[in-house]
Amino acid sequence: MGFDLLLQNILNPPVLMFLLGIGAVLLKTELEIPQPLPKLFSLYLLIAIGLHGGYELSKSGITLEVLKVLLLAMFMAVLVPIYAFFILRLKLDVYNAVAISATYGSISAVTFITAGSFLNSLGESYGGYMVAAMTLMESPAIVVGLILLTLFAKRENNSKVNWGEVLREAFLNPSVYILMGTLLIGFLTGEKGWKAMEPLFGVLFKGMLAFFLLDMGIVAGRRIGDIKKVGVFLVAFGILVPVFNALVGIFLAKTFGFTKGDAFMFSVLCASASYIAVPAAMRLSVPEANPSLYVTMSLAITFPFNIAIGIPLYYFVINHLWG
């Protein structure tokens, strides 16, 4: 059963394209998807899930159920970086502990999207408000991280945290903004709007995801070389902590009576780590931290793990609990 799921997940064009991308780097093929094409795909994916999520919301409406989910999402986005930080402090200095915990407190939209298409391929679905949940989970970890920084790091004055900048970085970063905006657009224009946008942003979705995952594979592959530099502790962290986060998420989802689909997507959000928003923010506000640690971990360890194993694994667990 578990193995079937694994296979079922791997034998999807998107996931295989991801592996193809990794292989391209390992075999030194010079295959590349030059900028800004990756930006085109990621923008497309964000807009697509935003519009679709908003459309779903316009049908379901904003119920208490929805608010409950959103609140729990925020809660996890604050909780995860805190305990992640203390785990990391066992081995790392404050700066890297902050950067990495923030990375894992935030989320990866592509992991979420891939999980969604895995769910659909099983004929199940999730609530449009999960996209809102994802959006809300993107930023808090950055702020939590920097609070931890100010509490535990003693820096010379010239590098005080510039909170204004940080908060803008956190809550007005492009992906948060585009997701919020398209959610709203999808919500406002409802059925009619979606009908007009569906041919591009609905029908082509899986293909575009596959195309983008090819690039993700290349980018992840480029970092694989750095894994050895990361060290055993952080490699273990990059696999075990996401699984743990997912389990915490599943526990909460069960306790608060999420639907099966929502629970699954929620667990994936908890398990995923950011490789765009957070690294950018950390680079600016915690230059002392080493990007080739936190970027490598989220991109070359946690992301591939979730795409290939985590997604079916979390589903497997949830499938048993929700039956």
Binding site: D215, V219, Y275, I276, A280, R283, P287
Partner: protein, 97 residues
């Protein structure tokens, strides 16, 4: 043609705006930016990661008086300490139109 100083800075793109702020503050007559520059230095390879944009440099140069050039150098130094990168000063003749 007027003898001037050319100040070149290569720095992590994330910090470009900070460098430009410095130039504005010091009041250079202008500057030129090439946004995407790759490279390698103490902080390792900047291979222009398409996804995270974290590993990309920008290249800026400005032409100004020697005195300004040195003030720029002073103001940029802490930035380079923090974020890496380089700052060069050289002699040029500027065509005054």
């Amino acid at each position: 043609m007027k003898p001037m100083k050319k100040v070149e800075v290569v720095i992590d793109s994330v910090y470009l705006s900070r460098v430009l702020d410095v130039l504005e503050r010091i009041g250079v007559s202008g500057y030129t930016v090439i946004r995407d520059a790759l490279g390698k230095g103490e902080r390792g390879i900047m291979a222009g990661d398409e996804l995270t944009d974290v590993f990309k440099n920008s290249y800026v140069f400005t032409v100004c008086s020697e005195e300004m050039a040195h003030r720029i150098a002073e103001e940029v130094r802490p930035l380079l300490k923090k974020a890496g990168g380089i700052c060069l000063i050289s002699d040029v003749l500027w065509l005054t139109h």
